[in-house]
């Protein structure tokens, strides 16, 4: 039956490749109940702080069960404006320059749908989050991958951008700090990228979802650089820093005309983000900063632990400046990322994700998420060491 039904599936969806993550998810799922330690997740191990959950419960008790403004609750947009000014140094008007979305994923989809004509080219650095390229394909635009390298700690360089640029490029997609590499750019690197964007008249979509989890130095938003606010859509959300992945709540800030275009798509497709999630997000912004700092400090110590252990074991690993991912190389031990990930899972029951799930430039690396307890990380690293040291044909 499925064969005959296929004829109704749009061709650009039918040709969309399956996520590499999905394959690995199924492999791990088969080992349920076998004491697998998973470093394969993409979310915090912390539960949403209780005061945030309580705010959602109170909202329900008060009968807050209706639609909100398409742009999101004005109280939340005001809180977002204050937060973005304080933490990123950019000013947005709550009335017309901020839209609350169903996670950054929706915000990104809105951007592509609102800004891309068929055939437009979107540059993005790779390895990258799994949905970037498919989301670009879904609006009949073309993705132009710009490689980042371990030698640069996976920072995006203006040189690599220039080398990858082709006529027709309209948008640059950034995710700094980056999932899966943890790489980010310092101010000087960002200034060079900003200059390139101004030169080529690129619109920047900046997904800064991991910015609060920056361990070394301070995070700089490209939107805060001179001349960039007018050509940047700043994307952010609550999932990572506030441990709120399941709430699906994020936001986009940008020039009025761009937010207005995104709002058009959003009002017809999503209407608004869930009011309960918006109420929780408001509480997180008003009273959750201490939680963010506590979680960040723990991630910092976990990062130092896994990076040190990976390098001791022989898995060359740069120190990710942000996010909760390490992206060690398997090349030094003479294994492909796929063989390493599958072998490690089967022999030692530790799950990591092959780097190629995040694009071809992830070859020779695996993503290991350190959003798990010290105890688990210590055992996982010991198992990885046994795997690396075990003789194999």
């Amino acid at each position: 039956m499925s064969t005959t039904s296929n004829r109704w599936v749009a061709s650009h969806v039918a040709t969309l490749p399956r996520s590499g993550i999905r394959d690995f998810f199924e492999l791990v799922a088969k080992m349920k109940g076998q004491d697998v330690i998973s470093l394969g997740v993409g979310e915090p191990d912390f539960t949403t702080p209780w005061h945030v959950r309580k705010a959602a419960i109170t909202a329900l008790e008060e009968g807050k069960t209706y639609y909100t403004s398409n742009l999101g609750m004005i109280e939340l947009r005001r809180a977002v404006a204050t937060y973005v000014t304080e933490h990123f140094g950019v000013n947005y008007r709550p009335d017309d320059q901020i839209i609350i979305t169903v996670g950054v994923s929706e915000a990104l989809d809105l951007c592509f749908r609102a800004f891309c004509n068929p055939g437009d080219k979107v540059m993005y650095h790779q390895p990258c989050y799994v949905s970037y390229h498919p989301s670009i394909s879904l609006v009949h635009a073309e993705g132009v991958a710009v490689p980042t390298y371990a030698k640069d700690n996976f920072a995006l360089t203006a040189e690599a951008l220039r080398a990858a640029w082709v006529p027709g490029c309209k948008i640059l997609m950034l995710n700094l700090p980056c999932n899966p590499t943890g790489g980010t750019c310092d101010r000087a690197q960002l200034e060079a990228i900003a200059a390139f964007c101004r030169e080529k008249d690129l619109l920047v979509l900046s997904d800064e979802i991991y910015s609060e989890l920056t361990f070394d130095g301070t995070h700089t938003s490209i939107a805060s650089l001179p001349g960039m606010e007018e050509r940047t859509v700043f994307l952010h959300g609550f999932s990572k820093a506030f441990a709120m992945t399941g709430w699906r709540i994020g936001y986009a800030c940008g020039p009025t005309a761009l937010i207005d275009a995104m709002m058009k798509v959003h009002q017809y497709s999503m209407m608004c983000a869930s009011i309960i999630a918006q109420e929780a997000a408001l509480e997180a912004l008003q009273n959750g900063w201490e939680n963010v700092c506590e979680m960040r400090d723990q991630y910092h110590r976990r990062r130092d632990l896994v990076v040190r252990r990976f390098n001791e074991i022989g898995l060359t690993c740069h120190s990710p400046r942000g996010s909760f991912y390490a992206f060690p190389s398997t090349q030094g031990i003479g294994m492909s990322e796929k063989d390493f990930a599958v072998g490690l899972l089967k022999e030692q029951k530790v799950a990591v994700v092959p780097g190629t799930a995040f694009g071809a430039n992830g070859t020779g690396h695996v993503r290991a998420c350190f959003a798990t307890s010290y105890e688990q990380l210590i055992v996982a690293c010991d198992r990885i060491e046994r795997f690396v040291q075990s003789p194999r044909a």
Partner: protein, 162 residues
């Protein structure tokens, strides 16, 4: 801050070997840090966090919170009295408080009678004690940072996600 103290403040239950791994120092160094914290009287000792309501053999131990009003002593204020009171084995913890009473005393006793006897014979007869108000603990919901009814976990978290 002492790196071991940082880990202790997180409230985990790491062994010294695990602390060494996390802090990136040797086990000997962890022990040195612990020794230093002991010398500085910051680290006083380890105590397990137990939910004895689940252990029948522990018997029906009684816990009480006692509000104590005192007459401060000339010279010593509340300190001398509080220290004297704190020395009783039954006293688990003892704090000087702001507000309507002076000391808040947590007491452990094997039976109700023994708890009552502690209050009437030892505590209230202590010179300087003006009055006591005893509250018995009926049920505990959280102890030392642990939720007692199972708590919550990330059991439903997907094993692999983007």
């Amino acid at each position: 801050m002492n790196p071991v103290l940082k880990l202790l403040l997180e409230g985990g239950r790491l062994t010294t070997a695990q602390m060494a791994q996390v802090a990136g120092i040797s086990v000997a160094e962890v022990e040195q840090h612990l020794e230093q914290l002991k010398k500085d009287k910051i680290f006083l000792g380890w105590r397990p966090v137990l939910d004895l309501s689940r252990e029948a053999a522990a018997g029906a131990a009684v816990r009480a919170v006692i509000e104590v009003k005192l007459t401060p002593e000339r010279g010593g204020g509340f300190n001398n009295l509080a220290q004297r009171l704190a020395k009783f084995d039954e006293v688990e913890s003892c704090h000087l408080m702001s507000g309507g009473y002076d000391l808040l005393v947590f007491v452990n006793a094997p039976t109700l009678q023994k708890a009552a006897a502690f209050v009437s014979e030892k505590l209230s007869t202590l010179g300087g004690v003006l009055s006591t108000s005893t509250h018995f603990l009926l049920r505990s919901y959280k102890e030392g940072g642990f939720l007692l009814d199972g708590g919550e976990g990330s059991g439903d978290r997907l094993n692999v996600s983007p």
